[in-house]
């Protein structure tokens, strides 16, 4: 009986079975940032524990970093204090800190892959739920809490239960104007925000096979929004081509050894899954969320669903969503006036995300609608530098976007980038929770970067295929 990649990686990293029946699982890569690590280091100090594998942990600053200017000290004293704490902890325990001063800083789920730290057949963890992103490389990658960050620092291991695996197959070619973001929003719409609880998601099929690594990262990133703690794509030639030559990628003879190991970790053809679901790529339209969970979404041209279309147990939440958003059933989300447009985040803040938008801005010559505040926030300093070298900064600023420094920014608004009042934001991020973008009453519509640009130009939710005259 064949095994899935999840089972193979889990078994290779299982140190032993604990009394509780859980497994002690070895972590190949541990990423930390300023928000969820300071308390973990404090616990280490309290208990006089050491960090035995400091070379397996890497740190960056992303959540609180301002994007207008990264000059120190930050104007926000609390943010400054958090960064000082991170620098001090890294220094003390010998952990590599990806410093803004050296141009290494970025969102943890952008810089890890960029440096070649994330590799197939690894276990990856971070005190951040979007760690599932790294599964794009065929790694088992998941978010953990701060107490578990302490455990990983002190032991390089975690106590874990084994998950079931659901294979999600999408086959076929996406239609023009439909992107990886639409695919994952569609999957979450189909399976629900808690459909993945207890599962790892294996994304497979010809659609994912044809995806670039950055597209795969967008999909795996949002596994957690479907309730699945981790999601992955089996490693293949695309994965290896991405990894070749990166700072931490194996080199020379080690490269061949690595590829052999990575290949051996792929799910077997006769692997057994707890569940298999299949979708057709051509059924997927550009998606927009209209509610307060990432599953509350619709094809951009469809009318919003009536609460009566949902099971009775879900209706209260649907009605709460409509009330919060100020939307009504049977009307389209298309045409809703937006105040803010945000392109960035660990979901869609990579070079190719901006490249696709730039292509359409250049071809159309269109500008941001007056009155819309439009932000472009690169996922890392490296992404930002590449954008500048390619002239993207000029394209964006000429079109009326603000071109910012790298960070998480308005995805969760722990820095000064926030919605104000009930502003409505077209956002390429991952969560449309109440208050997520910094204003307790702010409203978020999740969509692909190109759809965000279309909304920024139209001043309202629009079908990017019409705004940018896609030929189908």
């Amino acid at each position: 009986m064949g095994k899935s990649l999840y089972d193979k990686v889990f078994d290779k990293h299982a140190v032993r079975k604990l009394d509780s029946g859980q497994f002690q699982l070895l972590m190949g890569l541990h990423l930390i940032h300023e928000v969820t690590s300071p308390q973990a280091f404090a616990m280490l100090r309290d208990r006089k524990l050491q960090v035995p594998y400091p070379e397996r942990t890497f740190a960056t600053c992303d959540h609180i970093i301002p994007t207008k200017s990264q000059l120190r000290p930050f104007q926000d004293d609390l943010a400054e204090q958090m960064l000082v704490e991170l620098e001090r902890n890294c220094d003390h325990y010998g952990i590599r800190y990806l410093s803004p001063k050296k141009g290494e800083q970025g969102i943890v789920h952008v810089v890890g892959p960029e440096l070649g730290l994330t590799q197939p057949g690894m276990t990856v963890c971070c005190g951040d739920s979007h760690t599932s992103t790294h599964g794009a490389f065929g790694a088992i990658a998941f978010g953990i809490g701060t107490t578990q960050v302490r455990d990983v620092l002190a032991t390089q291991t975690l106590a874990m239960e084994k998950l079931k695996v659901r294979r999600i197959e999408v086959n076929g070619k996406l239609r023009p104007g439909v992107y990886a973001k639409d695919v994952v929003l569609y999957v979450i719409n189909q399976l629900g925000v808690q459909g993945g609880v207890g599962f790892a998601y294996e994304f497979a099929g010809s659609t994912f096979d044809a995806f670039t690594m950055e597209e795969r990262m967008t999909v795996c990133n949002m596994s957690i929004e479907g309730g699945a703690r981790c999601g992955y794509v089996n490693p293949d030639a695309t994965t290896y081509a991405y990894l070749k030559g990166r700072e931490y990628s194996p080199k020379g003879a080690a490269w061949d050894k690595a590829v052999a190991y990575w290949d051996s970790m792929r799910s077997d053809d006769d692997a057994v899954y707890a569940d298999v679901v299949k979708y057709k790529a051509e059924d997927i339209e550009p998606m927009v969320t209209w509610g307060i969970t990432p599953a509350q979404s619709t094809a951009v041209n469809a009318k919003l669903p009536a609460p009566s279309a949902f099971p009775s147990g879900d209706r209260a939440l649907i009605e709460e969503a409509y009330q919060y958003m100020g939307f009504a059933a049977d009307a389209p989300v298309k045409g809703q006036k937006i105040d803010v447009a945000f392109i960035g985040s660990c979901t869609n803040g990579r070079f190719s995300d901006f490249e696709e938008v730039v292509k359409h801005l250049q071809a159309s010559g269109k500008k941001v609608h007056p009155g819309v505040r439009a932000l472009v926030v690169p996922g890392s300093q490296t992404v930002r530098q590449r954008m500048i070298e390619a002239g993207f900064d000029k394209v964006f600023t000429d079109a009326g976007f603000e071109f910012r420094e790298a960070g998480c920014s308005m995805c969760l608004a722990m820095n000064p980038d926030k919605l104000v009042g009930r502003e409505l934001c077209a956002s390429s991020s991952n969560r449309n929770f109440k208050g997520r973008q910094g204003s307790p009453t702010g409203r978020t519509l999740l969509m692909s970067p190109v759809m965000v640009a279309a909304a920024a130009i139209s001043g309202s939710v629009a079908d990017a295929r019409e705004v940018f005259a896609f030929s189908s």
Partner: protein, 204 residues
């Protein structure tokens, strides 16, 4: 000596209604700008509370009669979203401190964070959760008991079956939910597992 065993938890109860209540709602991100968890308690559900106040309504966490509650009753997929441990840390520090949560289901990372803090999250059927909610609704002094050994929760004359994954239940009932010590004991086994992984030795 402090007893780490979590077998029988009894206390006044509070109910927060709604499916898919995410950790951004339990503790909004702006309160995460801190280097300790100490001051989080009073900000639990802050934005939800404020919005209800403005609408002339009262969030359960603002209900004067529920301020001594120690057991939280919730609905489906509670704690979804961010991995921030700040969510259970805030609940633990709210007034008397929440010490157990009973609900239809929980998001996985939230559940794991709670167990790591010695705070059981047990599940019951939708009907049973509603029955418990009714049992505590009338009188805020009604005590709710979570019995992890027998897998039961009771309040007033309602007694229902509750469950949680066996591994976590065992950790809590035997007092071994603080995983550090047990994980540290495996030090040599960790080193030998690492040796078996080609990438740990940089492919040599």
């Amino acid at each position: 000596m402090q007893d780490f065993k979590r077998t029988l938890i009894t206390g006044k109860a509070i109910s927060v209604d709604g499916n898919d209540i995410d950790t951004d709602r339990i503790i909004p991100a702006r309160f995460l700008r801190c280097v300790t968890f100490d001051d989080l308690g009073s900000h639990s559900f802050e934005d939800d509370r404020k919005q209800l106040r403005e609408a002339g309504k009262t969030h359960p966490f603002d209900d004067a009669s529920r301020q001594k509650a120690k057991v939280l009753l919730v609905d489906r997929n509670f704690g979804c979203g961010s991995s921030r441990e700040h969510a259970p840390q805030a609940l633990m520090r709210w007034n008397a401190g929440i010490t157990a949560v009973v609900g239809e289901s929980f998001a996985e990372i939230f559940f794991g964070n709670c167990v790591a803090l010695g705070m059981p999250c047990v599940t019951a059927s939708r009907d049973d959760v509603q029955a418990l909610k009714r049992a505590i609704a009338a009188d805020p002094n009604t005590e709710l008991t979570v019995d992890l050994v027998h897998g039961e929760a009771s309040a007033g004359n309602v007694r229902v079956k509750v469950s949680m994954p066996e591994g976590a239940r065992k950790q809590l009932t035997t007092g071994r939910w603080d995983s550090s010590a047990e994980l540290l004991e495996g030090k040599d086994a960790v080193a030998s597992t690492a040796k078996g992984l080609p990438y740990f030795a940089h492919w040599h």
